[in-house]
Symmetry: C2
Subunit: 395 residues, 2 copies
Amino acid sequence: MDNSAAHLPLALLLVFGTAKLLAEVFERLRQPGIIGEIIAGLLLGPSVLHWVQPDQVITALAEMGAMFLLFRVGLEVKASDLFRLGGTALAVAILGVVFPLLAGWAMFAQLGYSLPVSIFVGVALVATSVGITARVLASKGWLELRASQVILAAAVIDDVLGLLALAFVSSLGQGRVNIAGLAATAVLASGFTFVIARFGARAFERIVPKIEAKLSVSEAQFNLALIVLFALSLLAVYIGVAAIVGAFLAGLAFSATATKRVQDLAHGITELLVPFFLANIGLQLNLADFANKRVIWLSIALLILAVITKLVGCGLGAIRLGRSDALRIGLGMMPRGEVGMIVAQIGLQMGIIERSVYAAVVFMAVGTTMLAPPLLNWAFRDSIHAPPSEDFSVG
Amino acid sequence: MDNSAAHLPLALLLVFGTAKLLAEVFERLRQPGIIGEIIAGLLLGPSVLHWVQPDQVITALAEMGAMFLLFRVGLEVKASDLFRLGGTALAVAILGVVFPLLAGWAMFAQLGYSLPVSIFVGVALVATSVGITARVLASKGWLELRASQVILAAAVIDDVLGLLALAFVSSLGQGRVNIAGLAATAVLASGFTFVIARFGARAFERIVPKIEAKLSVSEAQFNLALIVLFALSLLAVYIGVAAIVGAFLAGLAFSATATKRVQDLAHGITELLVPFFLANIGLQLNLADFANKRVIWLSIALLILAVITKLVGCGLGAIRLGRSDALRIGLGMMPRGEVGMIVAQIGLQMGIIERSVYAAVVFMAVGTTMLAPPLLNWAFRDSIHAPPSEDFSVG
């Protein structure tokens, strides 16, 4: 065989093996294992060892990991619970978008950056990346707590708002803002999300067993679930929200139907793929970008602003649930992850933001993601919780 | 989100969805479902619809599918059974290499092709691709039959021989044949395979529980199994055999240790990835290459030669087991799959073989792969078999 045959098994071994090794080390130090998995990416990537590039294959495995993670979380959530807390979730999402947007804008305007740059940074602070939080909550058996339900519902709404902000800022970069187009996207995205979340589980409970009974293929329900997962992820992207929102909705839709067998099989896939999602976050960071003091200070200031604004905005939105839950919700909404990085990449490609601002935004996105697990463990420490779901590993 | 966000979920939905749809159709027509999955690739690919390209991501998912398939098969096999039939397997492998090699060479020399071209075609006929056969045998619960054990053991030996033939022909293409290098590779590859197959299962039975007990990470045994799977696949490639041989050996090594839980989790992964492996076979074929009669006749003649030579060669090797088992073994060793295609690609890239010969070899590889499942079902029809493993779907 030629040498290129080694490429795939080498990448799989390096990323998966290092992620699990560092997860083990962090667990022993009584730290969250997922921090270890993110650091594995940081070590293997362009920052330190240069052994693994975030190429097409790693990126695809990472995206699939996020999709299956959110699908699994959707399976464990009751849609009716999300709607019961809908008002609070809406307030959390809206305030959690407005505060970071305005604060980021104001900070960069204050520092002397132009209007487009300031708006871009504000938008990069907007969208919560719920993957990390979902993983922590699921692994500890906290998914059924009120605060967790608010976080999940708010994160979905937040994604729709974040998409609109991103569409706005992209059209701004192109010199024309299409208000009618933005409004249409908003209606479509909200409608899609609402209809599936509201009626999906009940409809599937009735339809799926009937289809399943007619199929000759083995593992019919699982195969059906995978097809729905891919179809809703695709539809979500076409409508304008992230693929993982579609994956989460697919999980919700199957939550009343999925057998233990389907959950186990899906769990095998998340065990394989989620380490790629986590390591890929670390792979995005290039420490060489932080060679001068100004970038370091800018990054740290932006990180602090990102933490405080979500904490205050989302906390205020949830304040009627009490200070303890408001704090948990604020922390749960904190990670920006890949969405903030996508905004930064678009800004960089459009030539609107410079390399140092890009580096600061990526630092903020990775930083909020890595701070979340330990802070969540601390904020939820007193909660009476269900026995941890055996199907989610490493917290 | 930009439009590229749709690329991955679209490819996943198209390949997985079409594969499962056609598997269902074929099952209802009482045909093997996996033929439907291969045809799905043919439909989606460059031959018909042009909707899916066999790009890096699809290829990686396909390779991972083959690795996990062989890993799962290894888990269900006892290494001691393979060695009990070692003598027969060796005869099957050697005669199954010699017959196709000489016949392919002779046929193309007869047709007036040059010596290098004739040798290349002979080598492309050599290596059995055991994935398809393994999937059929596992799905029907036939893995424990004597004929199946011989097929698996012979396929591993065959891969070592095929690799040597490939290394020989590659060095021939470069104008120099390094005999010492080839001998070293032969010793290394045989030694690696022998040691792991012989001692792996017993060693792992003792070591794995001890390591597992010390780990804090959840699903420790499964994560350990994945790391061993990737490590042995990589080692196999470095030594010179195919990654799937390493994956099979990893399965063998864990066969005495793996819990039901580990098997279920691995099964979820194969359910997701194996359709990509199957569809990718169909994606390789471009019907446009068969626009003239000469290529069609050449392809059909080569396919017939490929079927007969493995049937006769492997059948002779196994004749002491009786005609019925000899037939089964000959048919099981028939699929050439991706190994034949790799040889053809190398020949094409080196400029040794022309496009029409390349097309005929790919046709032979896909054809032998698609003929195998129905013929195997027929040849094994009378066997008293174990209840089909619930963990392998669609035959």
